[in-house]
């Protein structure tokens, strides 16, 4: 009975393993995408943008833009349009954000290529437009990296637990098989069979059952992975595509390894279990 259940239980474990692997790879991919985009983003908010700058004839917004465009570590400085700012504010102020009589600052997006925080730049900007805020995405990037790191660690933990549970399932099934064939094993042992003769027979069968179960479990996970990939596509900056290219290449390499690893776990666990059991025999 336990032996018959082995492929089913290993299939369930492999299903979880496939999801955990996909989760880990997705977290790594999204972390790369997000940290690359947010880590270099520079956002500058200029309050009262149409007022005169502290010196010169330009408005505060024009003066700030001029400094940014001339700065060494800043590129692609661009003032967001009113519609773009309203879109950004919508989550907090609703669809009518643009119609509210609120003093909305002008927002400039740019790319920061400097190594550290833009402290000198802040000083220069505040000299022409006091109250101007300049922030890079480094802090957010660090948070995103920490979050995805935690997700990856969780995925690795899940894989470890799944492997342990699979080993426990195979150990129980092997013990059941040994109990069922006890008399036969004792006779063969008495006739001069080596421990390896007996352990190899169990191990080959356990490896085959585990590989078969893992193949079923991994195949069953594929539709779910395609569905999750479609859901995640907008976050990863990848256009929704169909077919094999919907999943990352690394996943196509990792998924076939699941049955191989399951077979290895089955073979090793069975060898250890049988050899330990045979030690009871003189």
């Amino acid at each position: 009975m336990a032996e018959r259940l082995t492929p089913i239980l290993v299939a369930a474990m492999s299903f979880l393993a496939a999801l955990a692997i996909a989760g880990s790879l997705a977290a790594a991919s999204l972390a790369g995408e997000w940290t690359q985009n947010t880590g270099t983003a520079l956002t500058v908010q200029v309050p009262n943008p149409t007022d005169n700058a502290a010196y010169g004839k330009a408005t505060r917004l024009q003066a700030v833009l001029k400094i940014l465009q001339a700065a060494q570590n800043v590129s692609a400085a661009r003032a967001l349009s009113g519609d773009e700012v309203n879109t950004l504010l919508q989550p907090w102020l609703g669809a009518d954000a643009g119609k509210l009589a609120l003093p909305v600052p002008a927002v400039i997006s740019a790319v920061w290529t400097g190594a550290g925080p833009p402290d000198d730049l802040r000083g220069a900007l505040n000299a022409v437009a006091p109250g101007t805020l300049a922030e890079t995405g480094a802090r957010w990037a660090a948070r995103v990296a920490a979050l995805t790191g935690s997700l990856q660690a969780s995925a690795v933990s899940v894989l470890f637990i799944v492997a342990l549970v699979a080993a426990a399932i195979i150990s129980v099934a092997t013990h059941a098989g040994l109990a069922q064939r006890r008399e036969t094993i004792e006779i063969i042992h008495g006739l001069g069979a080596l421990d390896s003769d007996i352990a190899d027979r169990f191990a080959v069968r356990a490896a085959a059952l585990a590989a078969f179960g893992a193949l079923i479990g991994t195949a069953a996970a594929l539709p779910v992975l395609f569905w999750l990939a479609a859901l995640a596509a907008p976050f990863s900056g990848v256009l929704p595509v169909q077919g094999a290219t919907q999943l990352p290449f690394a996943l196509w390499v990792a998924l076939p390894a699941v049955p191989v690893v399951a077979a290895f776990i089955g073979w090793t666990t069975s060898q250890i279990t049988v050899r330990g059991w045979l030690r009871r025999l003189v």
Partner: protein, 227 residues
């Protein structure tokens, strides 16, 4: 050569702590059987004959004392060496110990296959031996389809198919008619004549009288007669 040197045996009790042991079943037993020797092992039921045989085919380790089998100290062998030693020992068990899911042919072939003999050699030896014990027409029968006597003959064939250096038999004629018992004894004495050391446990004293040989008598776990 088989040598027991002050051997004691207690059984470990199944399912209990590893230190839970039975009372002594073999006590201070010492004897030596020379290479190519023949010994009857006699005694009442429960005297310890089967336990002595178990020690000889390495199914048990002595609680105390030293056992030498075919020139090897049985206590000092690795598991692999013990398996190799077992391949040189043929055993006819009292309860036959045949594998029910295998045919008569495959049961007899088992020791040769474990020793990685070629299938050609297995076929030749097993077929010849089964013909000799009168079962050539029942090669494919499973043990459950055979009588007790036929099963015993398969067990005997299996014990001798590997041309063992030491042949141990526990009540080998118990389920055989007189003619089969005579044929078996002819086989055993023939093997003994070719240099195989033989120990036969029996309580059939008429058999012992028909085939005179040194006799070891056991009573209550002790060797009371040797010679």
């Amino acid at each position: 050569m088989v040598r027991f040197d002050h051997v004691w045996l207690k059984y470990r009790r199944e399912g209990e702590a590893s230190l839970a042991l039975s009372p002594d079943v073999i006590m201070d037993m010492s004897f030596a059987i020379p290479e190519g020797g023949f010994r009857w092992l006699t005694g009442a039921s429960g005297a310890g004959k089967t336990s002595v045989l178990k020690l000889m085919y390495l199914a048990e380790h002595p609680t105390q004392g030293r056992i030498e089998l075919l020139g090897t100290n049985a206590a000092r062998v690795s598991r692999r060496e013990a398996a190799m030693l077992r391949r040189r020992i043929g055993v006819v068990y009292q309860d036959f110990r045949l594998l029910g899911h295998l045919s008569a042919y495959d049961n007899v072939a088992l020791p040769m296959r474990l020793a990685r003999k070629s299938e050609g050699q297995v076929r030749a030896d097993v077929t010849e031996l089964l013909r000799w014990v009168g079962l050539s027409g029942k090669l494919e029968r499973r043990p459950a389809e055979l009588s007790g006597g036929e099963q015993q003959r398969i067990a005997i064939a299996r014990a001798v198919v590997g041309r063992p250096k030491l042949l141990l038999a526990d009540e080998p004629t118990g389920n055989l008619d007189e003619e089969q018992a005579e044929r078996l004894m002819a086989l055993i004495t023939g093997l003994n004549g070719m240099g195989t050391t033989v120990v036969v446990a029996t309580h059939n004293l008429s058999l012992v009288e028909r085939y005179p040989a040194p006799r070891m008598e056991i009573a209550a776990g002790r060797l009371v007669t040797d010679g």
